[in-house]
C-alpha cells in the first residue's frame, strides 16, 4: 500500500479525454517520476492530487484518506506540498517573510487570528525560518524582495517553503523547466540531498530525462491520459512502448 493511491481516475474536458483509467501507487519514501510526451495528462493528474481539479471518476487516497472534494489548503494540511512549474512565491514579500508563512501554516493551521501579536516575538518561527534559509543557502537574501531574486534562487526558495512544512509528500511539476544546465544540476543535487536527509516521498513530473534518471526510483510513463508502463528506471530506458510513445511524438512534431 503506497502513501498515494490513485485508482481508476478519469477526467474529461469537453471532447477531450485527458485522463483515462489511471492507476498509480507511490510508495512511501520513494522518488516516483511521471513522464510522458506533451499533452499526456501529467499536469492534469497532478492537479487532481492537490484539489485544483476533481476527477470525474476514480479515487485518490493519501495515507488512507481521500483527497477528492477537499480544498487545496486542506490537502496541504494533510501533508502534501506542491512546487510549481514557474516558481510561485510571494513576490512582494521579503525572502524571510516568504519563509515564515509556511512555518506559521505548519504551527497554527489554516487560519489563526494572530492580529496583535508581534512578529519579532515569534521566536520559534523565526528560528525555524532562519534555519531553513541557512540550509538552502539563501541567508544572504534574507531581507530582499523575493521578486528581485534570480530564477534559480526563487526555485530554491519555493522548495524551502514547501519543506518548512515537513510534508510527507512533495509534488514537483517540472522543477527544472527553462533552467540552464548548471541550475538544473544544482536542483538535482538539492533534491537528492532532500531525499537523503528526510523521510519524504517525492513525486515528480518531468520532461528532462537527465533529471528523471538521476533521481527517480520508479517511473510511470503516461501517454494520452493512460499509464503505459510503470517500472524501474533501468527497465524503462529500453522499453519498446516508451520509445514508441516518444518517437511517435517526435515524428508528429517534425
Amino acid at each position: 500500500m503506497g502513501i498515494l493511491e490513485v485508482k481508476n481516475v478519469g477526467k474529461r474536458f469537453g471532447g477531450l479525454q485527458a485522463l483515462n483509467d489511471v492507476n498509480l501507487s507511490v510508495a512511501e519514501n520513494s522518488v516516483h517520476a511521471i513522464i510522458g510526451p506533451n499533452g499526456a495528462g501529467k499536469s492534469t493528474l497532478l492537479n487532481c492530487f492537490v484539489g485544483k481539479l476533481i476527477p470525474d471518476t476514480g479515487s485518490v487516497m493519501f495515507d488512507g484518506q481521500s483527497v477528492l472534494g477537499r480544498k487545496p489548503y486542506e490537502i496541504n494540511q494533510m501533508g502534501i506540498s506542491r512546487v510549481f512549474q514557474t516558481p510561485e512565491i510571494f513576490a512582494d514579500l521579503t525572502v524571510m517573510e516568504n519563509m515564515m508563512i509556511p512555518c506559521f501554516a505548519k504551527r497554527d493551521g489554516a487560519f489563526r487570528m494572530h492580529a496583535i501579536e508581534s512578529i519579532p516575538n515569534e521566536k520559534d518561527i523565526i528560528a525555524k525560518a532562519e534555519h531553513m534559509l541557512e540550509d538552502m543557502n539563501l541567508s544572504d537574501h534574507r531581507d530582499m524582495h523575493a521578486a528581485s531574486m534570480s530564477r534559480g534562487d526563487k526555485r530554491r526558495l519555493e522548495i524551502a517553503m514547501c519543506l518548512a512544512q515537513d510534508p510527507r509528500l512533495l509534488l514537483l511539476d517540472e522543477p527544472t523547466a527553462g533552467m540552464a544546465r548548471a541550475d538544473t544540476n544544482n536542483t538535482i543535487d538539492l533534491l537528492k540531498r532532500i531525499k537523503d536527509e528526510r523521510d519524504i516521498t517525492i513525486a515528480i513530473i518531468e520532461h528532462d530525462m537527465h533529471v528523471v534518471f538521476s533521481l527517480a526510483e520508479r517511473i510511470t510513463v503516461l501517454a494520452q491520459g493512460t499509464p503505459l508502463v510503470e517500472d524501474t528506471p533501468d527497465n524503462i530506458k529500453g522499453h519498446p512502448k516508451v520509445r514508441e510513445a516518444y518517437l511517435g511524438e517526435t515524428q508528429t512534431a517534425a
Binding site: V50, K71, P72, Y73, N76, Q77, S81, R82, F84, E88, I89, F90, A91, D92, L93, T94, E97, M100, I101, P102, F104, A105, K106, G109, A110, F111, R112, M113, H114, A115, I116, E117, S118, I119, P120, N121, E122, I125, D143, M144, H145, S148, M161, Q165
Partner: protein, 403 residues
C-alpha cells in the same frame, strides 16, 4: 515601546504630537489677515481630519494589505452612524455607548456583506460591495424611513428622552462625554492669533491615535503578513495550507468596524445623520484619500484624509473676489486672464480639482504622497553621499515596507 519597533514608535509619537498641537499648527496666520482663510484650526474641520483619518486607516487595512478594492465602504460608516444616533436618542447622551454601538452595528453589517462579497475577488468584489452599498443607501432613503428618517435623516429632537439622561421636558439633549459637552471649546488669544481647543476634537483625536496604534499592530502582526501574502499570491497561499477566506473576512469586518467607529464619532460631533453619508461617491472619497496618501503605507491614509479635507475646505471657499485680490498686482489683461483660467477650479469647481488630482496621483504617483516624499528624500540623500551608496540605500528602502 508598546510592542512596536523604533520606527513605528517614532511615527506614532509624531502623530500624537501633531494631533495634540493641531489647534496651533493649523492656525499659523493671525486672525483677520489676508492669509487667515488658509487657517484650518477650527473644531469642525479638525474633527473631520481625524474622523476621516480613522475611516481611511480602516479602509487601508483592507485595500492596502489585501488589495481587495471595496467600493461600498461608506455603507459601514452610514450604518455605524445610524446605530450611534439611536443610542443617543434612546439610551444615553454619553457618546461612549453610542460610539461602541456604531462599531458593533457596522461590524455585524460588514460580516454579512463580507460573507457574501468575499466569495468573489477582483472587479467582481468591487461591484458586489458597490451593489450592497447602493442597496443600503436606497433602503435608508425609502423603505427603512421609520429607522433611518428617510431623506431628512435623524437628529436629536426635543421629544427624545434617553433612558439614562435627565432632561427637562422639551430640552434638546447635547452629546457629551461624562458631562463634558462635545461642542464646548475654550479659546486662547495670543496677540493676533486665536486658538480653539474643542472637546469633541480631542476625543476624536485620542480615538484616532488609538485606532492608528491598533492598525500598526495589525499591519506588523503575523495576521498582517498573511494579508500581504494574499495580495501577493493567493495561489501560493492556498498551496501553503492557509485558507484565505477567514483572513479576508476578518480584515473586512475590522475595516468595517473602523468605518463604524468613524460614523459613531461623526454622530458624537454633530448629532445627526442622513442617507447621503452612504452614497457611493462617499465610498469613492475614502478610496481617493487612501490612494492619495499611499495605499498600503501606515501614515498615508491619514495624510490623504487630511490633505483632501483641507483642500476641500480651502479651495471651495475661494471666490472671484479672493482671486481678484491675489492677482491684483498683475497688469489688468493678465489679471483677467489668470482669473478666467483659475476660476473653474476653485469654489464650486472644487470637484474638478479633486478629479484632476485623483487622475494625477494614479498616473504619476501610484504610491501616493508617501512615495512622493520618499522620492524627494532619496534625491536629497543621493546628493549628500556618493552615488553608489545612495543607490544601494534606495534599493534597500524599496524593499522594506514603507512607513
Amino acid at each position: 515601546m508598546f510592542g512596536l519597533n523604533k520606527r513605528d514608535t517614532g511615527l506614532i509619537a509624531i502623530v500624537t504630537v501633531l494631533v495634540i498641537l493641531a489647534p496651533f499648527i493649523l492656525n499659523p496666520f493671525p486672525e483677520g489677515s489676508a492669509m487667515a482663510q488658509f487657517n484650518a484650526g477650527y473644531p469642525d474641520l479638525m474633527q473631520r481630519f481625524v474622523i476621516f483619518g480613522i475611516f481611511a486607516i480602516g479602509f487601508n487595512l483592507l485595500f492596502g494589505l489585501t488589495g481587495y478594492l471595496s467600493f461600498g465602504h461608506a455603507a459601514f460608516l452610514g450604518v455605524g452612524s445610524y446605530g450611534a444616533i439611536w443610542m443617543l436618542k434612546l439610551f444615553s447622551l454619553n457618546v461612549i455607548p453610542s460610539i461602541i454601538m456604531g462599531v458593533i452595528v457596522a461590524g455585524i453589517f460588514a460580516l454579512a456583506v463580507g460573507f457574501v462579497s468575499l466569495r468573489r475577488s477582483g472587479i467582481y468584489f468591487s461591484i458586489l460591495t458597490l451593489a450592497f452599498a447602493q442597496m443600503s443607501y436606497a433602503l435608508a432613503y425609502s423603505v427603512l424611513t421609520p429607522i433611518t428618517g428617510g431623506e431628512t435623516g435623524l437628529q436629536i429632537k426635543s421629544t427624545d428622552s434617553p433612558l439614562l439622561s435627565n432632561l427637562e421636558p422639551g430640552e434638546i439633549g447635547r452629546a457629551s462625554l461624562f458631562g463634558l459637552d462635545m461642542r464646548s471649546s475654550f479659546e486662547i488669544e495670543m496677540g493676533d492669533w486665536l486658538f480653539t481647543f474643542n472637546t469633541g476634537y480631542y476625543l476624536a483625536g485620542i480615538v484616532m491615535i488609538l485606532a492608528f496604534y491598533l492598525a500598526i499592530r495589525i499591519t506588523r502582526s503575523p495576521f498582517g503578513m498573511m494579508l500581504r501574502a494574499i495580495k501577493s499570491n493567493q495561489q501560493r497561499l492556498n498551496y501553503t495550507g492557509l485558507n484565505a477566506r477567514p483572513y479576508t473576512l476578518a480584515v473586512f469586518v475590522i475595516s468595517g468596524m473602523y468605518a463604524g467607529l468613524a460614523g459613531g464619532l461623526m454622530v458624537a460631533m454633530d448629532t445627526q445623520v442622513g442617507p447621503e453619508r452612504m452614497f457611493w461617491t462617499a465610498s469613492g472619497e475614502v478610496v481617493l484619500m487612501t490612494i492619495l496618501g499611499g495605499a498600503g503605507t501606515l501614515i498615508g491614509p491619514v495624510l490623504g484624509a487630511g490633505f483632501i479635507k483641507y483642500m476641500e475646505n480651502i479651495i471651495s471657499k475661494i471666490n472671484k473676489g479672493i482671486l481678484e485680490q491675489w492677482f491684483a498686482f498683475m497688469p489688468d489683461g493678465i489679471e483677467d486672464l489668470l482669473i478666467t483660467l483659475v476660476y473653474p477650479f476653485v469654489g464650486k469647481g472644487w470637484h474638478l480639482t479633486l478629479g484632476l488630482m485623483f487622475m494625477a496621483v494614479v498616473i504619476f504617483l501610484p504610491g501616493g504622497l508617501v512615495e512622493g516624499g520618499q522620492r524627494i528624500g532619496r534625491v536629497f540623500r543621493r546628493r549628500d553621499r556618493k552615488s553608489e551608496h545612495a543607490e544601494a540605500d534606495a534599493a534597500k528602502q524599496r524593499n522594506t515596507p514603507a512607513e
